[in-house]
């Protein structure tokens, strides 16, 4: 069996050649100057290829930025309207939420654990259950959130989402509901509604409330089926004493969440569940993952399309210069240096396009800095929990990934023409017109 040995020898040879190419590129500034001049030999052609690369890159980076802006907004909306960064519940609450799994004593154990943690920006207690809300004309099943109005205002955007009436204050028996729910029940601010629910002892309880205000958020689910009442009134309605369902905590930043979660877990022990937003709504994290996979597919597709164009131009350039390359070979320029020169030409050409593309991207980002207004399609966005204005968001990776892929594409596309050029036998090439 000579095959493996042959393959090994070939691989060694290829590695040796590559090293020689790299050595040639590293040690010779003249080669760089030559490649740069070759790029601009046919200016029109170079500009067309660079434009194709620039348009492709700017288009892809901007579309991805808009997409990512949408996903970030979805996460931020979920966190700022409802989830918070970390939630603390009694053990087993997530599997079976009910009035029999509550944090006793107003969640004092949890609150004490929170005090003094540097990562905590704000926290709020909530009691949550289900109920039936009836107006004079209709009724609907609702999720009831009993909150401390002042604290809730610090952890969610609820207070800022009021579009009619007022936020909860000291007045008794007031509730907030989504605008969409109010429409369905045909009620307005000030109307009387009856909230019926089963209390902790299993008895049916009902109480009349007045609509204090209506809210509109980017979450259709919240707007359609959630009402907010004051914590003490919720505790009385559900007959749960001073217990609560959850403590919602907002961290100083999203990056501090893992540390905050770990610290809370350590301080509070095993009787409670401490979960981050990603654990409470795993789907949000999948979206980021799916987005990242999709971005690679898109980059790959556009760059492959670009590669054809780059290879084509390089190939033409090499053919035009068959005679010239023959001359430099005859004058003693080594194979690795010729390959290095052509590959470098390909990379430089692509980099020109890349830089122009990033300039275009920057221009686009400046133009779109106030966001794109998609209000005609607001409902479609709201089912995803996204508001009507989308601000593109770019990350460092949006520039590094296309740069790396562009250089790789240029190298691959330049390889064939480069090797062709290096293989030319000087005698034949010189005979070529």
């Amino acid at each position: 069996m000579r095959r493996p040995a042959e393959l090994r020898a070939q691989a060694r040879e290829a590695a040796g050649f590559t090293a020689a190419v790299l050595r040639a590129l590293a040690g010779d500034r003249f080669l760089w100057r030559l490649a740069w001049r070759n790029v601009w030999r046919n200016g029109r052609r170079a500009v067309i290829v660079a434009t194709a690369v620039a348009v492709g890159i700017a288009g892809v980076v901007l579309s991805m930025a808009i997409n990512f802006g949408m996903i970030l907004q979805m996460i931020e909306t979920a966190i700022s309207t409802d989830l918070g960064h970390v939630q603390v519940h009694a053990r087993g609450f997530q599997d079976d939420p009910g009035l029999d799994r509550l944090l006793g004593d107003g969640g004092r154990g949890g609150i004490e654990a929170l005090e003094g943690l540097a990562e905590v920006r704000a926290w709020a207690p909530r009691l949550r259950s289900e109920g039936l809300l009836s107006s004079a004309r209709a009724s609907a099943g609702v999720r009831v959130l009993a909150v401390d109005p002042a604290r809730e205002a610090r952890i969610t955007s609820l207070a800022g989402s009021i579009v009619a009436g007022e936020y909860l204050d000291g007045a008794r028996r007031r509730l907030l509901m989504g605008e969409a729910l109010a429409e369905r029940l045909h009620v307005e601010v000030g109307a009387k509604v009856v909230l019926s629910a089963t209390d902790a002892r299993g008895d049916l309880a009902g109480e009349a409330f007045r609509v204090a205000g209506l809210f509109r958020t980017a979450s259709l689910e919240l707007d359609r089926s959630t009402v907010y009442v004051r914590l003490d009134e919720g505790q009385r309605l559900f007959q749960v004493g001073d217990t609560i369902s959850e403590l919602v905590v907002v961290a100083r930043s999203r990056e501090a969440v893992p540390r905050l979660k770990a610290a809370l877990r350590e301080r509070m022990g095993g009787d409670v569940e401490v979960q981050s937003w990603g654990e409470l709504a795993p789907v949000l994290e999948y979206f980021v993952e799916i987005f990242e996979q999709m971005a690679w597919i898109v980059y790959a597709a556009v760059f492959i399309a670009m590669a054809f164009g780059i290879a084509n131009v390089l190939l033409m350039a090499v053919f035009e210069r068959t005679r010239e390359i023959g001359v430099v070979r005859a004058l003693g320029m080594s194979g690795p240096r010729v390959v290095g020169m052509v590959a470098l030409e390909s990379v430089l050409l692509t980099l020109v396009g890349l830089v122009a593309g990033f300039a275009l991207t920057g221009l686009g980002l400046v133009l779109l800095r106030d966001g794109i207004d998609l209000s005609p399609w607001a409902q479609g966005l709201n089912i995803m929990g996204v508001g009507a204005t989308i601000v593109p968001v770019v990350r460092l990776a949006d520039f590094t990934t296309p740069s790396v892929v562009a250089v790789l594409t240029a190298l691959l596309a330049g390889l064939w023409p480069a090797v062709r050029a290096a293989r030319a036998r000087p005698a034949e090439a010189l005979r070529h017109v």
């Binding site: 052609r45 194709a52 348009v55 492709g56 289900e130 209709a138 049916l204 290879a311 089912i383």
Partner: protein, 407 residues
């Protein structure tokens, strides 16, 4: 074959390598466009079909005002003329009457607000897939009065098992209190999280008794041949019965229509970018071939060929180039999509959860619509035509004297 076409065809193949690369780039773009458009079409059709079959139907008939108010006060009587209308109108694949109200369902200390839907056990499967979604127990039936079927999450939140007795409380049609006991006979797994948490089914007769509703129903859901046939069927039904209120799926689920629009917009933007990148390749190839032939084109002009003919010649070349790429691309792309159409891909667990959020089965499907390849063809040829303008103008504008003097 006319002379110009023959000339153009030969010019295209003058440099086979260059032409090959350009055609390959076009083929690549065409295949991607056909593939992704079909993937989106498959996804969207599936979203519509799943939502329609989940419960809404392709269209609903209801009493005036039900769509805007959705309360028991708006109703339609399921009498002989209405039954006749549904039985006799061609294009009705299935219909099912429903009573829809809200209630509070409780068991011991757990309580949940529910959407209570009374369904006709015989008719319901002709429209919705609710009966197929049963994971335990049995569906509502005439034989088992006061039986209730719950969504899985609803059952879990209530801690209810098959055979448990639940207390249902609501407001009747007369606005008096309605309350009764029901026994859990089945649990169904619904792909829509909100529905799974809130939908409870009882038989139509039970619901009419509970809400003191007589022979009234809230709506009749109708299944048409497919989503595209819904508007036509709605118009036909409306002609026969002007009094009844009819809404088709796009009105019942406007957010779905908007979602599809946004999703499509995002995809088309990316595909246009791809096609533009390929168009620059075509532009470059044609331009190079024109510049190489400056002298030759100068000779043609000097011999008396009109500039317009030279323009046509170069233009034909780029259309041939794009056409070749398009034909090959469609020849690869269409069978590829047709194969995927017959072999949907089951998604992994994580993707599946994201799909469930939108109430969809976790299947990736493809659907080739006739407009898809036609649209791709028009786009590619249009962009190629635009890209060829510059080289063609350049070729026809040259002065023969200058051209002959050049190398």
């Amino acid at each position: 074959m006319p002379l110009e076409l023959r000339l153009a065809w030969r010019n295209v193949w003058r440099n086979p390598r260059r032409t090959g690369l350009t055609v390959a780039a076009t083929v690549f773009a065409v295949v991607l466009v056909v593939f992704f458009v079909a993937m989106a079409a498959g996804l969207h059709e599936k979203m519509i079909e799943d939502s329609v079959r989940l419960h809404s139907g392709h269209l609903t008939l209801s009493g005036p005002g039900y769509f805007a108010n959705r309360t028991l006060a708006q109703h339609v009587r399921l009498d002989a003329p209405l039954r006749g209308l549904l039985e006799e109108t061609p294009g009705v694949r299935g219909w099912a009457p429903r009573v829809i109200g809200f209630g509070l369902l409780s068991r011991e200390t757990d309580a949940q607000g529910v959407a209570l839907m009374g369904v006709d056990p015989e008719r319901e499967p002709s429209v919705s897939s609710l009966a197929d979604r049963l994971t335990r127990g049995s569906f509502v039936s005439r034989e088992r009065p006061h039986g209730i079927v719950l969504g899985e999450r609803l059952a879990r939140n209530l801690g209810a098992r098959i055979g448990d007795e639940l207390f249902l409380y609501s407001q009747a049609y007369s606005l008096e209190t309605a309350a009764d006991l029901y026994r859990v006979i089945g649990v169904m797994k619904l792909p829509d999280v909100t529905l799974d948490r809130s939908l409870a089914l009882v038989s139509l007769a039970d619901a009419q008794e509970f809400f003191v509703y007589g022979d009234r129903v809230s709506e009749v859901a109708v299944l048409a041949e497919d989503a595209d046939a819904a508007p036509g069927l709605a118009a036909a039904l409306q002609r026969r019965d002007p009094a009844v209120e009819i809404h088709i799926w796009s009105e019942l689920m406007p957010e779905l229509v908007q979602f599809i629009f946004i999703d499509d917009a995002g995809m088309y933007i990316l595909l246009v970018i791809l096609v533009v990148v390929v168009a620059f390749g075509i532009l470059n190839t044609i331009l190079m071939s024109v510049l190489e032939r400056t002298r030759e084109l100068g000779v043609l002009l000097a011999l008396g060929l009109r500039p317009r003919a030279v323009f046509r010649l170069v233009y034909l070349e780029s259309l041939l180039l794009a056409g070749a790429g398009l034909a090959l691309g469609l020849a690869v792309g269409i069978p590829l999509v047709l194969w995927f159409q017959g072999h949907p891909i089951l998604l992994g667990e994580r993707m599946a959860e994201a799909y469930e959020l939108f109430g969809m089965e976790p299947l990736m499907t493809w659907k080739l619509k006739p407009l898809n390849p036609i649209g791709s063809a028009i786009t590619i040829l249009g962009v190629a035509a635009a890209a060829a303008l510059y080289p063609a103008l350049k070729a026809s504008r040259g002065r023969p004297v200058d051209a002959l003097r050049s190398l």
